[in-house]
Symmetry: C2
Subunit: 383 residues, 2 copies
Amino acid sequence: MEIAKSLQQTPSSYIREILAAASDKNVISLAGGLPDEKTFPIDLMKPTLETLSEMPEVFQYGATAGYTPLLNFLTDYFQLPDTHIAMACTGSQQGLDLIARAYVNPGDKVVMEAPSYLGAMQVFGLVQADIVTVPQTEFGPDIEALRTVFYEQSPKMFYAVPDFHNPTGVCWSLETRKQVAALCEQYNVALIEDAPYRELRFSGEAIPLVSDFCPQHSIVLRSFSKIASPGLRVGIVSGKRSYLEPLIKIKQGADLHSSVPMQALLLGLLKHDNFDYHIDTIRTLYKSRYETLYSELQDKLPEGCEIKPVDGGMFVWVTLPSCDTFKLAKELLKDGVAVVPSPVFYPQPEAAKAALRLNFTNATPTELAEAVSRLASGLAKAI
Amino acid sequence: MEIAKSLQQTPSSYIREILAAASDKNVISLAGGLPDEKTFPIDLMKPTLETLSEMPEVFQYGATAGYTPLLNFLTDYFQLPDTHIAMACTGSQQGLDLIARAYVNPGDKVVMEAPSYLGAMQVFGLVQADIVTVPQTEFGPDIEALRTVFYEQSPKMFYAVPDFHNPTGVCWSLETRKQVAALCEQYNVALIEDAPYRELRFSGEAIPLVSDFCPQHSIVLRSFSKIASPGLRVGIVSGKRSYLEPLIKIKQGADLHSSVPMQALLLGLLKHDNFDYHIDTIRTLYKSRYETLYSELQDKLPEGCEIKPVDGGMFVWVTLPSCDTFKLAKELLKDGVAVVPSPVFYPQPEAAKAALRLNFTNATPTELAEAVSRLASGLAKAI
């Protein structure tokens, strides 16, 4: 049976190959984007796990938009405006897929920063969007480039990860947030704000969502994979009702609804008195791992390699002198360290600047130090 | 933001309106397709629910194809041939959606019986398939009509519910199964065999899947919503590896993977010593409810209305003298009984023969009897 044309255009996922190879015991993986399993708040989930058997209603078919007690709770928790609703998805990844399916026709223009999140490129690739990129600065997207794209190309939406961007770790400045919001309103472009790392801030002051400055022109995707557990697969999409209703309609066909016991479990966790303390613990842990990675990199990276500090998230981005980063990543794998080469994060891989993404959340300080040694000696050989 | 063209072509779901109205306390609903909440094997799930907190690995990101211990178990349980693999989805509904997205281009022909499952029409509608129908007899699809369609129109796939069809309750005969399988092989049409009601047989002998006669030309969708719990949202898709790999690739973008704790919970349930006994209990319960509904209908239906006995599943199909069944269903709702009118089950609603779908799994015998009284008096007025 011949596969659909939309799928034929999806490149095979090189990152999956790396992740597969990275499971070798002799390899230290900084390639994935996994939270540390030890941080999962299983103790805080246990009371709910044990009472699910007294909640037969969560085992029945549920509403497509999600488990009502969870949605009600989150409407308050996220302080959604009256015009807005929330819906639960099978991870925020599904929310993104629903947005693409509900709104994007083949050839419609979708703007992203370059580099950008691989999973978003897959999703928009499947609906055959015309992905247009703008460069990223240390404060967020290049505003003049964004204005030009909005003005000249009339895109339908702008997909962005403003908090601790995947892969670069950049956190958009307050000023950039306001400017992007104003541009979205001015040019009637919907902002798709993906915020999976937002709660993982370990330095600096919290700043508002970009969507807070353009609430009628945005959809927000929130994840609990990094602060609760990815295995649950519960993400939340919120936005004005007219934006969300088409997503609910698609979801009806896509899977009827997401697991209700998992939504009830998440609700129990969010309501637990110690949940805030739990997030603080994760932040402290990841901060110390980040600091280890960063200082090891500062000490050991060969000349010509550059890193910028981050205030949260899961990744550090190492820019390199021009080289074949795919070949480099394969060589590094042989040296016992897995990293992700920059081209996989670019819709036009040939336009990628040489860089590597390093994850710091799922390795111990000892592993991080050893990984950097292997990385540094591999880099010294290669560049 | 303008919605995608594919969604603009999806008709609004009248059945959702009926189901919403059916939640009124004064209405007895035979409209839904819900299992009885009291049948959920929560006692059998409880031991696993209580040990999930000792399985931190199920809270981490999982493999896109599903939780390996579950897939291994099911490969044996379903006695899959060596050429085949299984994958876990967010309900078998998602499996169907992935099949449509992986294989169907706009305008590709997909064959179904008419009437057919509404959720399948939604899914194939979203990918803008050209849905071609064949009539259904009491033994399954009209074989000569099917042969003609396969020969003249070269469809890509044939979607079917051979066991206790939704909405008619028809179970394909053994001979029809063999004939359909032979046609699929002869004309190289993939059979998409949707089997959510297969385990709900309460009369007659079990017969093989259609796919057992054409294993290299079929994909099977299996549900645990009717024998375990719909809320879990775990369905299984199986077929030859080359058929399934594109589905896994789409699922990677669609939601990364389905809930791992729910897959572990299902595995614990399937392995429970009392699970087979539990299924027997459900069969016995639904058989008695079916018998109540059927005998009440035989006694009370006005002349010109016809029913056929079923050997399992969840539905009875009442054919009526020609009338406006939408109007009838609305009138019946006022009389306190919710049913689903036949046109919603036809890709070309205007071609529908007048009929109503009645569900018997989620109402007590008393409710079933009262519902039939209301139905019969409503019908007597209308026709």
